[in-house]
């Protein structure tokens, strides 16, 4: 064993008081898990929300009666579904006042045939009028999507030979998109002309997605960008008048984003408040332990003084002990939270039913550094009172008669 040095003294003190040290480390670990884990989750939710906002090109979605909530879920949480109009909705809508751009989309929920029971959302879009999907698809795939081909979302299982098997038919995959943290990751995009083929394949395997009679003209939603100066709600009213149908469903993607953001902010706010309370409580515990150990260690500090320690050395000793506790607790806390969160990001995203996108490595590293700094700072703050006492000029660390 190497001989003692002043630098090793704090570690010996921690090592020889394993229960006290472990208790302090556990408190710091819990605080760090809460801080770092909470920050990581909040960052991922924000990233997901921003990503979702970028993908929402439309101001208004016209959907069939009673399918509004399905359509919203499809946008936010990745619950796939099939719904469609049975009339020529595009023409009916087109006559309304205040429409800047309009395009139709078709949503079909399918079973992926190859393995397991994960559903895939098939989204048919009309390349001629589309203004929603193509802008961001082309940011990763430039080229026109041919009939019969698909573009796959990030979570889609593409086979070795570059195809995806749906309804017992291999669709060639033209490109696979980067993760967005939204339902679009579980979607495949096809040209609207491909939809009838999809429907016929589904009929062949006995799971007709849409009755054959509607296959050619099935439209699930009309996405509308309002003309300048028109409010989405006004346009919705105009559409109801123009089409003569009062039971249409309307979804306002901007509103969806805004309400998701609002509930997310509320969530983050509560979590932050909880964290602050939790941290204060933890700090009080650490504070109490340090203060009581200070009394317990009076004689020890007196011994250092007698041996010729300056007040600075005593303060340094306490500071290094508490910083070490903070660092150990921080490392354990960050490792534990990372292990619990990072590998499970897909599952967390699915369970939260909120847009959730794992943030990049740089942000994670920044959070790790912040978490460590937080842990060490917590340790240091807890020992401030003790350190101040020790640095007081009138030393009270004397050995009294009989002590």
């Amino acid at each position: 064993m190497p001989r003692i040095t002043l630098g090793r003294l704090p570690f010996e003190n921690l090592r020889r008081k394993p229960f006290r040290t472990a208790a302090l480390v556990i408190v710091v670990t819990m605080l760090t898990v809460a801080f770092y884990g909470g920050a990581l989750l909040a960052t991922n939710l924000k990233t997901g929300l921003n990503s979702m906002q970028e993908r929402m090109g439309a101001d208004l979605m016209v959907v069939p009666q009673n399918t509004g909530s399905k359509a919203e879920a499809l946008l936010t949480s990745g619950t796939s579904s099939t719904f469609y109009f049975t009339n020529d909705i595009v023409k009916l809508v087109a006559g309304a006042d205040g429409i800047g751009q309009a395009t139709s989309q078709t949503y079909i929920s399918s079973l992926a045939a190859a393995c397991c029971d994960e559903k895939v959302q098939i989204i048919g879009f009309d390349p001629a009028t589309d203004f929603v999907i193509e802008p961001w698809i082309t940011s990763q795939y430039d080229g026109t999507l041919k009939d019969g081909e698909v573009v796959a979302g990030a979570n889609i299982n593409v086979s070795e030979n570059g195809a995806i098997r749906l309804y017992n038919h291999d669709f060639p995959v033209a490109a696979q998109l980067a993760a967005t943290g939204t339902s679009l990751d579980n979607s495949v995009f096809v040209n609207e002309n491909t939809i009838p083929a999809v429907v016929s394949y589904s009929a062949k395997v006995g799971h007709a997605a849409i009755p054959q009679e509607y296959a050619d003209k099935a439209v699930s939603a009309v996405l509308i960008k309002t003309a300048d100066g028109y409010d989405a709600h006004t346009v919705a009213g105009n559409i109801a008048k123009a089409s003569g149908i009062s039971t249409l469903g309307y979804v306002y993607p901007g509103g969806v984003t805004a309400s998701t953001r609002a509930s997310l902010n509320a969530l983050v706010g509560y979590a932050g408040l909880f964290l602050a309370v939790f941290w204060t409580m933890g700090l009080v515990v650490l504070f109490a332990v340090f203060a009581s150990s200070m009394n317990e260690r009076k004689r020890e500090f007196a011994a250092y003084r007698i041996m010729g320690a300056t007040r600075g050395m005593l303060v340094g000793l306490i500071v290094r002990e508490s910083a070490t506790i903070g660092l150990i607790g921080g490392v354990i806390g960050i490792a534990a939270a990372s292990l619990a969160i990072l590998p499970f990001n897909t599952l967390i995203g699915k369970q939260l039913q909120l847009p959730y996108l794992q943030t990049g490595i740089v942000t994670v590293l920044a959070l790790v550094v912040a978490g460590l700094a937080f842990a060490v700072a917590t340790g240091l703050i807890a020992s401030i009172a003790t350190a101040v006492k020790l640095s007081a000029p009138e030393t009270y660390l004397t050995l009294r008669e009989g002590e």
Binding site: C115, C116, E118, A154, N186, L347
Partner: protein, 134 residues
């Protein structure tokens, strides 16, 4: 006594979890029409590895610290395999939303990493104590 439990209990518990998880809560894709996916074999391998790790832990209850250190080194190597099996050696289904990819894979990684770390700490303590005792 505390030391002995600290050096063996993690291997027993985590080994059992590694064996059980893919068969229960972290289930893998069902075998359909005799078509066996990669995750099926990953689950089989994890079952074997988990049982071995748990047995090494149980053996550790009855031996001297030096031997226990050796057993824990074996736990480390086996646990490294637990991580390697679903990632590089066998793998899981590719679809990110598939249960085996979303749950089984990270579960095995986490259990494997925890086993490696805890066994490494146990080895360190056991070897250090053996040295000091000499």
């Amino acid at each position: 006594m505390t030391r002995k439990l600290f050096a063996t209990l993690p291997a027993i518990v985590l080994g059992a979890l590694i064996a059980i998880a893919p068969q229960t809560f972290a289930y893998v894709c069902k075998v359909e029409d005799g078509m066996k996916m990669a995750c099926h074999y990953t689950a089989q391998a994890a079952l074997g590895l988990g049982v071995v790790i748990a047995l090494l832990g149980i053996l550790g209850l009855f031996v001297a610290p030096q031997v226990r250190a050796g057993l824990n080194i074996a736990v480390i190597l086996n646990a490294a395999l637990v991580v390697a099996v679903p990632t590089v050696l066998i793998g899981v289904c590719k679809g990110a939303m598939m249960h085996c990819h979303m749950v089984t894979l990270p579960t095995l990684i986490v259990l494997g990493v925890l086993s490696v770390v805890l066994a490494a700490i146990a080895v360190w303590f056991d070897i250090r104590d053996t040295k000091t005792a000499r």
